[in-house]
């Protein structure tokens, strides 16, 4: 119990650190927010500019702005975008489902590719298949995601006209009524198979791009934890009983190797989320990653602050959950 409490306490300085970094980053940034709002309006007096500055609360001292920023975050009042002039909360909640859907699709891709490849590599250890697997995994983590995305678009969209190279759903297919915001789930709930198929096709290339490095990782973890399990007695025992090799592998080894795989996948959600900045940009995917890039570029700092907070907090939460689960499962673990 103490350990859990200690682990929870550890997150407090981290949360404070995150909020400080986020706040200071955007306040050090060049670009006067009032100028950003006004854009190319030709005829604005200095008084008007001061007026808007006061309306935005930008005339107050920095520490005061920081505390009202933190208080706002805690209260659920996340401020207003300078560019879109809607509440940041609305903007982010609007973008979140697209990112979640893409992230989960990428995880699924990585599991579909990574687990069988890892199992195969482990079972046929040191064979040419294993070596090929290692090479392919390295290829997966060595490709710049923007290049992989562009190449997939070039081949499958521009060249073969097989799969769409952008956005979430073709326009001529009406979107299913929004329940979760995840198009695949919503279209199943609505029984709208045209939308489901459309959304799936649109998801294919971005999910593959985002999932590629993740697949490599999943494959390697699967391989090593499989090897560990295979070495253990009960597998040898099962083999000795004459059970066919493949069924041994699947029934016994994989089931036991799954725990570390799931942990690694969960822990890498964070880095996966970071990659979506690039992938969403390439595929015009209306998610959080694109919002962050656009907002950083336009110095729309209320949006950047909160969006980066969302990323960081997701990471902290995933880490915490993984650690606590681990402690629960394995009380001897120390941190």
């Amino acid at each position: 119990m103490d350990k859990i409490l200690q682990r929870l306490l550890q997150t407090i300085p981290v949360l404070i650190g995150i909020s400080l970094i986020v706040f200071s980053l955007m306040h050090l940034a060049p670009g006067d927010p009032v100028e950003i709002m006004l854009g190319e309006v030709g005829y604005v007096s200095q008084e008007d500019i001061e007026l808007i500055r006061a309306e935005l609360g930008l005339d107050r001292p920095l520490p005061q702005q920081y505390f009202s920023f933190v208080a706002g975050i805690l209260r659920g009042d996340w401020g207003t975008s300078l560019r879109a002039r809607v509440s940041v909360k609305e903007l982010i909640l609007e973008r979140l489902p697209a990112t979640i859907e893409l992230t989960f699709a990428a995880i699924v891709v990585s599991l579909i590719i990574g687990i069988p490849a890892g199992v195969l590599s482990a079972v046929r250890r040191y064979s040419w298949l294993d070596k090929l697997g290692t090479l392919v995994a390295l290829v997966g983590i060595s490709m710049p995601q923007f290049w992989l995305g562009l190449t997939l678009i070039l081949v499958f969209s521009v060249g073969l006209h097989l799969l769409p190279g952008g956005v979430r759903l073709a326009f001529d297919i009406p979107a299913p009524p929004t329940v979760t915001g995840l198009l695949l789930v919503d279209s199943i709930l609505a029984g709208d198979w045209a939308a489901f198929w459309g959304a799936l096709r649109h998801l294919a290339l971005p999910a593959l791009t985002l999932g590629a490095p993740m697949s490599a990782l999943t494959m390697r973890v699967t391989r090593s934890s499989m090897l560990e399990v295979i070495r253990q007695d009960y597998v040898t025992f099962a083999k000795a009983k004459g059970v066919k090799e493949l069924s041994v592998v699947i029934k016994h080894a994989l089931r036991n190797a799954l725990i570390p795989i799931v942990t690694v996948v969960a822990l890498n959600m964070g880095s996966l989320l970071g990659g979506n900045m690039i992938v969403e940009r390439i595929f015009s995917w209306p998610g959080l990653g694109q919002l962050v890039v656009d907002s950083i570029r336009t110095y729309d700092y209320p949006v950047v602050q909160v969006a980066v907070m969302v990323y960081a907090l997701t990471y902290v939460a995933m880490n915490l959950i993984a650690d606590l689960l681990y402690m629960r499962l394995n009380p001897r673990v120390r941190i």
């Binding site: 550890q10 650190g17 390295l138 562009l150 989320l273 880490n319």
Partner: protein
């Protein structure tokens, strides 16, 4: 003590020194041979090393490999196709970009930026990370807690987002990119070193050194550091690939080195407009990034196998 005896003493000292040096040299050569024997077994690692070597030599010898100025536009040769296409010619082996600059020249000069940033960032990060990792792991306690919380905080930010925001604040340019990447990069060697130190502390030879009364600095640098070096080298090599990818991503987002200096990521970004019409402008520089990073990663794997067998599996 007479002169001769002194001379003889000197001679003996010189001889032992010579022998010591010789033995050390032999040991080093032996180590290198042993290392090479292990490394060579991994064919992919050899290929990867060769690819990296080729890119490094191309970067260094760039002016001798192409006669084109990578930054000079030719307004009469815009968006020419590569040599293997019907209208291609050997004047521009990989074609030209939207300003008529030779893509081959830009790729090999671009290697300078990518490799420079990769090695410099990882170099500095390793120095910072090793120092902090040793301190953190060896002393533990409050100082360890502070360093670990800072690391946790930095790890919570996706790397690219943090780097993008930092370059946004600092402004573009080589120096600022290096700083923005260093901001988080030191965390990785630091964690590895700390882990190794914690493991080493448990081991007998450190215990022994301590009971003999060796100073903590002595223990840290003479006993622990050499043992963590192998894993640091492996991790750092693999990190070079990641940093190169990161720099390419920053350049792709328009936050790279200033034009007209060629950088691979910005070449892909600039060529992206022409993906429907002239695919090579964006595809070929991307291929260069991919090959370089793959080479480095293959090399890192080979190093891991050769230097640190216990890191395998």
């Amino acid at each position: 003590m007479n002169r001769y005896a002194a001379r003889a003493d000197e001679f003996v000292i010189a001889e032992t020194l010579k022998q010591k040096l010789l033995r050390a040299l032999q040991r080093t050569i032996g180590n290198i041979q042993e290392f090479w024997r292990l490394y060579r077994k991994n064919h992919l690692a050899v290929i990867g090393g060769a690819v990296v070597l080729i890119f490094i030599s191309l970067a260094i010898l760039a002016p001798y490999v192409t006669s084109h100025d990578p930054e000079a536009p030719n307004f009469r040769a815009i968006r020419r196709p590569p040599v293997w296409s019907k209208e291609g010619s050997w004047t521009y082996p990989l074609g030209t970009d939207h300003l008529g600059r030779d893509i081959w020249a830009r790729i090999i000069y671009g290697a300078r930026i990518s490799l420079f940033i990769g090695f410099v960032v990882v170099g500095f990060a390793t120095m910072i990370g090793v120092a902090l990792g040793l301190i953190s792991g060896y002393y533990g306690g409050r100082i360890d807690a502070v360093i670990q919380r800072v690391i946790d905080t930095l790890l919570a930010f996706p790397y690219l987002i943090l780097a993008t925001a930092l370059v946004g604040v600092l402004g573009p340019g080589l120096r600022n990119i290096v700083l923005a990447l260093l901001y988080k990069e030191w965390v990785y060697p630091c964690r590895v070193v700390r882990g190794e130190v914690l493991a080493a502390k448990e081991q007998e030879y450190v215990e022994a050194a301590r009971t003999v009364g060796a100073s903590s600095r002595h223990v840290m640098f003479k006993e622990i550091l050499p043992n963590v070096l192998a894993s640091t080298v492996v991790v750092s090599t693999l990190r070079v690939g990641s940093v190169i990818l990161m720099e390419a991503s920053l350049s792709f987002l328009g936050l790279g080195v200033e034009p007209p200096t060629p950088a691979w990521g910005s070449m892909v970004a600039e060529g992206r407009r022409f993906i429907n019409t002239e695919w090579w402008i964006s595809t070929l520089p991307g291929l260069a990034i991919f090959l370089t990073v793959l080479g480095i990663n293959l090399m890192g794997e080979g190093l891991r196998d050769a230097l640190d067998p216990k890191l395998r599996e």
